[in-house]
Every structure is written in C-alpha cells, then in structure tokens.
C-alpha cells in the first residue's frame, strides 16, 4: 500500500529519492573515474602507436600544442633513445556527415608514416572507406612526402586517388592531412631550434 499523497510526503519522498540517487552516482563516478581516464588514454595511445615510427618514450606525456593558421593542434612526439623519431598530430576537418578527426604520423624527415581515423560520421559504405580496415584509401599516403605528393584529390589537380562517389569526404580528409602537415612543419622547426639551443 503506497503512502498517502500529502504535500509533505510527496516533497520528502522526491527529495529523498533524488538525494540517495545522487549520492550513489557520486560514489560510482569516483570509482570509475580512474578506469575511464585509462580507457580514453588507451584510445589515444593506440592511435599514436599505429601511426608512429618505433619509439621508446611516452608520447602522450610529452604532448605539446602547436598554433597554425589560428588553430591549435595536439602534437605527440615519438622519440628513440632521446632523439626525435617522428610526430603524431591530431587534426580535424568538416566532412560530408560532420567532423572527421585524424591522427597523422610523420617521420622526422617529413614523410607520412601512417594515418588513423579517430572519429567520423561519414556514410557507411561510401565515406567510411577512410577507415584503414575498409579500403586502401588511407594507405596511399604512407611513405609519401607532402612536398612532392600533392595533398589534393586528382580531380582538383593533386595526387590523391579519391574514394569513388565520396569526393567531399576525400577532400575533407586531404584538408585535414594538409593542416597536420602545416603543423608538423612548425613543430619540426621548433624542435630543431630547441636542439640548437641545447647544444
């Protein structure tokens, strides 16, 4: 039998239920905060590892920001034995269905080591071919030096083979990679200045 619906009972009940629920949630939140942070870090670290040359440092811990054309980019330096081996850069562009986020890995000499997709909302079967598991579109960038390999689709006079029937997605992808390259050029300048200063 439920309690009678007097105003006092109603207010007290709602208040109590909400209070207990909030306290419980606060507790669970505190317990899961660690694992959640770990899971999010693991995602970034996996992306970095898949596009970077071999490294023995912790790129996430040494992350720094680079300003290029009014926007900030996260750069994760990969080092081997203390020397820079490459840089993984997070970049974005507006695709067909929304934001495309990529992790572009550069070797120190400026060639692209690899590109992985962090997130996207492109059309399944068409734009989603930017994912490495779905087609070889992203593989064509590996080993290329953007100084010689024009990061623009062939239709627009560049060297990139676009995804069939997904020109907008392909263009956005190229834009994102270009932005990452601009950021890379800035940070490799930064790095060489630091090295000169340390000598």
């Amino acid at each position: 039998m439920a309690k009678s619906s007097t105003l006092k009972n109603m207010v007290v009940t709602l208040f109590a239920v909400t209070l207990i629920a909030s306290a419980l949630l606060g507790g669970v939140y505190a317990l899961t905060k660690g694992p959640i942070d770990l899971a999010m870090a693991a995602k970034t670290n996996n992306a970095i590892a898949s596009v970077s040359p071999e490294f023995d440092n912790d790129p996430s811990a040494e992350m720094f920001m680079v300003e290029s054309a009014g926007k900030s980019y996260k750069v994760y330096p990969a080092k081997m034995g203390g020397n820079a081996a490459g840089f993984a850069i997070e970049t974005y562009a507006s695709g067909f269905g929304g934001r495309i986020a990529l992790m572009v890995g550069f070797n120190v000499d400026g060639t692209i080591k690899g590109i992985s997709v962090l997130s996207h909302t492109e059309t399944p079967g068409l734009g989603d071919k930017i994912e490495p598991s779905k087609s070889s579109f992203s593989a064509q960038f590996e080993g290329k030096d953007p100084q010689n390999f024009k990061l623009v689709v062939k239709k627009d006079g560049g060297d990139v083979d676009a995804i069939t029937a997904s020109t907008i997605t392909s263009r956005a992808y190229c834009d994102a990679v270009t932005l990452a390259w601009e950021a890379f050029k800035l940070c490799s300048n930064q790095k060489s200045e630091e090295e000169k200063a340390n000598e």
């Binding site: 949630l25 939140y29 926007k71 507006s94 929304g98 907008i168």
Partner: protein
C-alpha cells in the same frame, strides 16, 4: 546564414525521425490522423524548445562548473518531466479541448526520445554548419531544437496523411497495421535520403 543551414539540416537532411530514429514511438502511435499528428507536433515543439534552453543553461552553468557532468542524464530527464507537467497544467486551464484531444499522449512527451535526445545532442557534439566543427551557442541551440521539432512535425504529418490512405488500401492480412506502417516509413525515409549533401 548559419541559422538557415541549421534549419535545413535538422528538418530535411538529418530528420530527427527518419534518419536519427528519435521519437518513433509516438510516430507509430499517434500518426493515424493528421489532426492529432499536428496537435502532438505543436506540443512537442514547445517542450523541445524550452527543454533544450533550460538543459543548455543547466549544463554550462551548473554541471560543468561543478564538475558533475555525470548527473546529466538524471537532471535532464527531471527537467523534461517537470516541463511536461507544467505544460499539462497550463493547457488544462487555457485550452481544455486540446487537452482532451491529446489525452494520454501529452504525458508521453516525457518519454519521447526526441526531446531528451536533442537536449543531449546539443551539448555533446560539435557541429559543422558551414564552417569548422564547433559547439553550439545558446541561440543556435534553441534554433536547432525548434528546427528538429519542425522536422518531427513534418515527418509526422506526412506520415499521417499516408496512413489515412493506407486504411483504404488493400493490404495483405499479415501486413495490416504496424508492419505496413513501418515499411511505408522506410520508403519515406528513403525519399528523405535524397536530401543528403544539401548542407
């Protein structure tokens, strides 16, 4: 200009019902007559707009500053439930006829996934309306909510018209009722896919 893009995107390209699958329960339940569909859509538009505004403020002025974003689900649904309750009370006083006509469907707006869905969407992801990915500001959020509600209404009213016709058609026994309604909805969704790429 951006507002026009928001409206076109929400009403046609990413129709809340036909491409995001939010609000399907009332869609299948209320849409047998154009008049009820219209009344329901009006109520939903009002609740969605006000709910989005309130939850937006709640998120950015209470939840984020206090670091209690995990309370989002609880607080948002409480806001929506309270709003619907208020709308019920007001409507009973102002327009008892409409209140009677909507019947059970008015309190059911609380469980309409579209209302909670839009409120969460607005504060969760970055949008790319004509530019770089960014979070919506308050004015854009409200316009987005109203536009989505209009899209909901449009789909509902179109569908109600189709269902009124279906009642008179010669439908095989096993398909009568919900199955044929679903297949028709699928064809309507297919038609709306033609808007893809507009924005």
């Amino acid at each position: 200009m951006e507002y026009i893009l928001i409206i076109i995107s929400a009403v046609f390209v990413n129709n809340i019902l036909l491409s995001q699958f939010l609000g399907v329960c009332p869609f299948l339940g209320v849409s047998n007559k154009v008049s009820t569909a219209a009344g329901m859509s009006g109520a939903v538009t009002f609740v969605m707009a006000v709910a989005t505004l309130v939850t937006y403020l709640l998120q950015y002025y209470v939840l984020v500053p206090l670091g209690i974003e995990f309370m989002q689900t609880v607080t948002f649904i409480v806001v929506i439930a309270s709003l619907v309750q208020m709308v019920e009370i007001i409507m009973k006083k102002i327009s008892p006829a409409l209140y009677q006509a909507l019947g059970i469907f008015l309190p059911l707006i609380t469980t309409n996934c579209a209302v909670l869905g839009v409120a969460i969407l607005v504060v969760s992801k970055e949008f790319t309306f004509g530019g770089d990915p960014h979070m919506l500001n308050m004015a854009q959020a409200v316009v987005f909510a109203i536009a989505n509600a209009l899209g909901f209404g449009l789909a509902m009213i179109l569908f109600a018209g189709l269902r009124e016709q279906l009642e008179l058609a010669n439908v095989p026994k096993e398909f009568k009722g919900t199955p044929i309604a679903l297949i028709t909805a699928g064809i309507l969704a297919l038609a709306f896919m033609g808007f893809a790429g507009l924005v």
